[in-house]
């Protein structure tokens, strides 16, 4: 159990009376990439968003079960939501840079979390380098972030998350709004980030899941159908449902 970063035990999630997730048990390994795959509406994004409490503002969301980050209960009221989210960062489907400059996009989180002022420029530079964005933007850090291309914006959003040195990065279909070249860049970025971070990614793209994942979880209708290594899921699935889905026979 040493190398488990996040564990989910007997989790049920409801929006009002509607059950979205049914008895989920899954462990996400430290410094590995885990992909959540499955048809639209299977609950994979919902599961992802529950790992850093993004459902807190959804008034009718009810979550049962135990979700742990290391040995810390994510949903324990004693644990600050701020600290959870600082340790578990998130990148969304559509790039959502703040309406500020490139530099301020990265400085924002550092400032609210009261990082020492003198360290901020160096942290920003290294996060931008880690996100393969530094060379493209180093001369125009004051430019509004919305002026960047879609792919650059998404890498900025990753840099914005990385700058806080989180332990886990959640990614909700981060490439679905991007062209193939940008997607390629982000995949490369994910592969290099995995040396330092635990990454959990929701994706629709089977080839992508196969290329980047260590582990893959296949979900269907709110249930976790099969969980295993990428090789296992794609080459030798145990369940008929998984086999049909990864082979594209799904209707």
């Amino acid at each position: 159990m040493e190398n488990m970063k996040i564990s989910v035990n007997n989790m049920n999630l409801y929006f009002g009376k509607k059950q979205i997730l049914k008895d989920i048990n899954i462990n996400f390994k430290t410094k590995k990439v885990t992909s959540l795959i499955g048809p639209s509406g299977c609950g994979k994004s919902t599961l992802l968003r529950s790992l850093n409490r993004m459902h807190d503002l959804t008034t009718d969301a009810i979550i049962e079960g135990v979700l742990k980050l290391d040995d810390k209960d994510i949903y324990d009221k004693q644990n600050s939501i701020i600290d959870i989210r600082k340790r578990v960062g998130m990148v969304f489907q559509k790039p959502n840079p703040l309406p500020k400059s490139i530099y301020e996009n990265l400085a924002y989180a550092l400032n609210i979390h009261k990082f020492p002022k003198e360290k901020i420029p160096a942290l920003i530079e290294s996060a931008l380098k880690e996100s393969y964005l530094w060379d493209e933007v180093k001369d125009e850090l004051k430019k509004p972030a919305v002026k960047l291309s879609g792919g650059q914006q998404q890498r900025l959003c990753i840099a914005r998350t990385v700058v806080l040195r989180p332990e886990v990065i959640l990614m909700d279909e981060p490439c679905s709004a991007l062209d193939p070249i940008s997607t390629n860049k982000i995949e490369k970025l994910i592969m290099s980030l995995k040396n330092d971070y635990t990454i959990i990614i929701v994706t629709h793209n089977m080839q992508q899941a196969q290329r980047i994942s260590d582990d893959v979880a296949f979900m269907y209708m709110g249930e976790l159908v099969e969980f295993g290594t990428a090789d296992q899921i794609f080459k030798n699935p145990q369940k008929e449902l998984t086999k049909n889905y990864v082979n594209g026979h799904f209707g």
């Binding site: 600050s80 939501i81 701020i82 600290d83 609210i112 979390h113 009261k114």
Partner: protein, 298 residues
């Protein structure tokens, strides 16, 4: 160290949440207070004057020794001038809205929209002033009467003031009718006019009703225009060329002079309460129709 920072920030977050909540509720309570104040003062009035006299009499004459408190002449005046204004503003407003959304080229639209917004921005007291110096004398001349400060004058002015509301909401309603309706009608061989009158306008009907109701609400509640331009005679009007005195004008004229907490004072709150209920009802109805249009075409 970092922990204490989060704790502090969460405390600030909590404090502001409470502040927003408290201010929010205080504001809502203050606005709710309007309703309670009217009810409370009206009750004081009906403790002294029977509601039957209030709603059936024919005289509003609070000054004399035998004070008469009947809302009927005021209500009749209010109704007469408002209905008159609708007779003018509804066709003009709806046809203009139809012109704007179905006929006008883009360039003309960008000219006409500000015209309507400017019309809406003119203070009511300026419209009332024009009623005295321009429209009133004009009416007197046309009808060969001595004094043009009458219901007709008020209706013309209120129509001008209600027009922006009616045009804007009607136009939204007409624009909300899906293109496919129109295309289906064209496909059946109907021309532009047949489509407009037989398909588009009927489909927009709930929204047009909403527009008329909200315009009517505006006309019923207007004070300065009618106060300045309708002659202020608190007798039962017999026609559009009679001087009238609406509920709003009565409050405006008499509230400045009545002693605090007398029957007369409470009477003014009572007629205000009636006006409040009427406009509230009309606004809710208007909103109901506007929602129906939205649901229908969603």
């Amino acid at each position: 160290m970092i922990k204490s920072n989060s704790e502090k920030r969460e405390k600030i977050d909590w404090l502001f949440k409470q502040l927003f909540k408290f201010t929010g509720f205080a504001t809502i309570a203050l606005l709710g207070g309007i309703f309670l104040m009217l009810i409370y003062n009206s009750i004081s009035f009906f403790a002294n004057v029977s509601p039957i006299d209030f709603f059936t009499g024919s005289q509003w004459d609070p000054g004399s020794a035998t004070s008469k408190y009947s809302i009927i002449p005021l209500l009749a005046s209010t109704g007469l001038v408002a209905i008159g204004s609708m007779l003018i503003a509804v066709p003009l407003g709806i046809f203009t809205a139809a012109f704007l959304s179905e006929l006008a080229p883009k360039k003309l639209q960008t000219f006409l929209k500000p015209v309507i917004e400017m019309l809406a921005a003119i203070p009511s007291v300026a419209i009332g002033f024009l009623g005295i110096v321009l429209v009133g004398p004009g009416i007197a001349k046309i009808f060969g009467i001595e004094n043009g400060l009458n219901a007709l004058n008020g209706s013309v002015l209120l129509a001008v003031m209600a027009l922006p509301t009616i045009i804007t909401i009607s136009e939204d309603a007409i624009n909300a009718v899906p293109k496919s309706h129109r295309e289906a009608s064209f496909a059946l061989g109907a021309n532009k006019w047949e489509t407009m009158f037989q398909v588009t306008l009927p489909a927009a009907l709930p929204g047009l009703i909403a527009a008329v109701l909200l315009g009517l609400g505006r006309a019923l509640g207007e004070t300065m225009t009618v106060l300045m331009a309708t002659g202020n005679a608190s007798v039962l009007p017999e026609g559009f060329l009679d001087s009238i005195r609406t509920i709003t004008a009565t409050i405006a004229i008499e509230m400045g002079e009545v002693p605090y907490q007398t029957t007369h004072y409470y009477a003014l709150f009572a007629i205000a309460a009636v006006l409040f209920m009427i406009t509230l009802l009309i606004n809710f109805l208007g909103e109901y129709f506007a929602n129906r249009l939205r649901k229908f075409h969603a």
